[in-house]
């Protein structure tokens, strides 16, 4: 009798795990985690963002362990994250304090403070660079030396350094012109979606958290559907900035005192403010055009995701039954990497019992059909 399908599990698992390790190591090469951290910025940023855990070194280990598979790396970091105690909550931070590395606006050519292109692949030609095959640590030293020399700060530069840590926001300009509805500060303590499960209708703070943790591809696809036609939204990038945001903690005995707070470090973030034109009804039935905002913020440099998040944020602020992308349950329940990949992959698990039950059910209906008893009163 060949009934061993679900037997001998213990040994099978052990062998499978061994085999997995072998697949990672079989070519005899060890991937240095520092190299992952230093050279795979895109993947590191994506994984940190989807994990909602900012730590490049841990992300590098997760990527190594997952053999570069982002869904698996995110899974590892999320599981680790859920065991971490919450010891402190940072002081509220303001993105005006961002030390900007890159900043563009699609709405205005001349924004106060100027456009800063920074590091971007936007204008690279996507031609494979065969030189990279031969690149060595020695060969890049000259290039690095030259780059540093070229960018050594002059006295003039240093005097103007402070500019990039306090660039005015494009949106403030629009607000001062009255083109953007001013909004009140919402100082409600946000709910932590990893500590309290979502209930509908959701709060905006909850929506933003789920969106920023969302799987990059899922968030991007849904936002793409919105602007392509399955949505009622025509947004423009008001301002996109990438840079370092400082994090401060309150002094344990002097809560709320800014001057006593501790600076604990920076993290890199991408922030996007999307401008969405809407028609608002003013008094006396007059209609006016105004801008609404869609907000996106993610760890690291994840520009497409941040823009997509901004689009979806505005979509969910304006529910529309005609489009699933403007339905909060549809969007928020389905963009999480760990949840979607977990449930899809669970289909691999044995379903023998449910299948046996289904067989019984199908046989029963066939029996009824052959005896011609379909739905005509009592048996």
């Amino acid at each position: 009798m060949g009934y061993v399908a679900v037997r001998g599990g213990t040994q099978a698992i052990e062998e499978s795990i061994k085999r997995l390790k072998y697949e990672r190591l079989k070519k005899g090469t060890v991937l240095d985690v520092h190299k992952i951290e230093d050279g795979m910025r895109g993947l590191i940023d994506q994984v940190m963002s989807e994990s909602s855990l900012y730590d490049q070194s841990l992300a590098a280990i997760a990527i190594k362990q997952a053999e570069g598979n982002p869904e698996e790396a995110v899974f590892l970091l999320r599981a680790y994250r859920s065991t971490l105690p919450r010891k402190h909550v940072s002081r509220m931070m303001s993105s005006e304090d961002m030390q900007v590395e890159r900043r563009v606006s699609a709405s205005f050519k001349d924004i106060p403070g100027g456009q800063i292109l920074g590091a971007t692949t936007d204008y690279t030609h996507r031609l494979l660079d065969w030189e990279l095959e031969k690149e060595t640590e020695e060969s890049i030293q000259d290039w690095l030396y030259a780059y540093h020399a070229e960018n050594r700060l002059t006295e003039y530069d240093q005097r103007h350094m402070s500019d990039i840590t306090n660039l005015p926001k494009v949106l403030d300009y629009l607000r001062s012109e009255g083109l953007l509805a001013s909004c009140e500060n919402n100082d409600l303590q946000p709910e932590d979606v990893t500590r309290k499960s979502l209930e509908f209708p959701s709060k905006r703070s909850e929506r933003l958290q789920v969106l920023t943790r969302g799987q990059t591809g899922a968030v991007t696809s849904l936002a793409y559907a919105v602007i392509r036609g399955y949505g009622a939204l025509h947004p423009t990038v008001g301002e996109l900035r990438v840079g370092q945001l400082p994090v401060y903690l309150d002094h344990p005995l002097d809560e709320g005192q800014e001057e006593d707070s501790y600076y604990i470090g920076d993290f890199q973030a991408t922030e996007v403010e999307m401008l969405v034109p809407v028609t608002v009804e003013k008094e006396r039935g007059k209609k006016e055009m105004e801008f609404e905002i869609g907000y996106g913020l993610c760890f690291g440099q994840n520009e497409t995701k941040a823009i997509a998040m901004g689009i979806l944020d505005n979509c969910l602020e304006n529910p529309n039954a005609d489009f699933p992308s403007q339905n909060e349950e549809f969007v928020l329940y389905h963009i999480d990497s760990v949840e979607s990949t977990g449930f899809i992959s669970h289909l691999k698990m044995p379903h023998y019992v449910t299948f046996q039950s289904k067989l019984d059910s199908i046989r029963k209906t066939k029996e009824k059909a052959s005896t011609g008893e379909t739905g005509s009163g009592n048996e």
Partner: protein
């Protein structure tokens, strides 16, 4: 035992929070209590709800049994057992009678459970009205208003189409005459075991972030009509090829050599117990 994590993986605060949700679930039989489902080291959809309940309840004296599809040795059951014993050092068992906590996917053991036992069922989709109404906001209202015509309508439509109810596993139940609930994908065969069960039954859905419960000695009825009664899977005239048991859930198997169909107990530990008993009594 893995010392780099707290006993039973979670910090004590998390465990307490899950237990609070569990207590609420016990107080309102069949009601789905939302809880802050944690991200676990096993996949969402792979039993994280059940696992969180197990980890929040387990103490040093507990003895754990984990079954998947009736088997103690299936890869998923083994994997969960390993995680729990690695982070707690507690003893695991295959014996249903010996276990204090039983985590199960898709089956209720054949041996009837006792008052000092807790059965934890893994739930993929906790909402019995989901196929009728996709929105969580709406189904929550339907439960609040005790509006369950949708659940019966699904069954009515099946009778119209096929002349019989055509549910397979996860046939909806009414708990304590109040909440219609998903019993998790247990076969219909197991539904009656929930009714006035001596053991506490907890149901955990990790991905959907819900906990619900059937407290001991609670009425659980499978939805049906007055003239179309609820029917279990039929194994009429079948018996287990190993232990010759009759009134048990059987797996249908095919002999590779002869092509003949034969049946075998799905609950493997129960089957083994019966075989051993028979052998010790000298019966063959």
């Amino acid at each position: 035992m893995n010392k780099s994590y707290n006993f039973a993986f979670f910090d004590e605060g998390s465990k307490r929070e899950i237990r609070r949700a569990t207590l609420k679930a016990i107080a309102i039989p069949g009601y789905q209590v939302p809880f802050a489902s944690r991200e676990m080291p096993i996949g969402r959809g792979w039993g994280t709800g059940g696992l969180q309940l197990t980890l929040s309840l387990i103490g040093k004296e507990d003895v754990l049994k984990v079954i998947d599809q009736g088997s103690d040795e299936s890869v998923n059951a083994v994997n969960i057992k390993k995680l729990v014993s690695d982070t707690t050092g507690i003893r695991t068992t295959d014996s249903t009678r010996e276990a204090t906590l039983i985590q199960s996917r898709h089956r209720v053991p054949e041996v009837s459970l006792q008052q000092d036992q807790i059965l934890i069922l893994q739930v993929p989709l906790p909402e019995p009205l989901r196929s009728f109404e996709p929105s969580e906001y709406e189904t929550k209202k339907l439960h609040a208003e005790r509006e369950y015509s949708g659940a019966w309508l699904m069954l009515f439509e099946q009778i119209m189409k096929y002349g019989t109810m055509a549910t397979d596993a996860d046939h909806p139940v009414m708990v304590h005459d109040r909440y219609v609930s998903a019993p998790s994908p247990i076969p219909r065969f197991d539904n009656p075991k929930l009714d006035y069960s001596e053991a506490l039954i907890l149901l955990g859905a990790g991905r959907e972030k819900k906990v619900y419960a059937v407290p001991p000695f609670t009425k659980v009825t499978s939805l049906a009509f007055d003239d179309y009664e609820f029917e279990k899977e039929s194994f009429a005239n079948r018996e287990c090829i190993l232990c010759t048991s009759k009134d048990v859930f059987l797996d249908e198997l095919v002999d590779q050599d002869t092509g003949a169909t034969y049946f075998q107990c799905n609950d493997t530990s129960n089957c083994l117990d019966i075989v051993n008993q028979k052998q010790s009594l000298g019966v063959k």
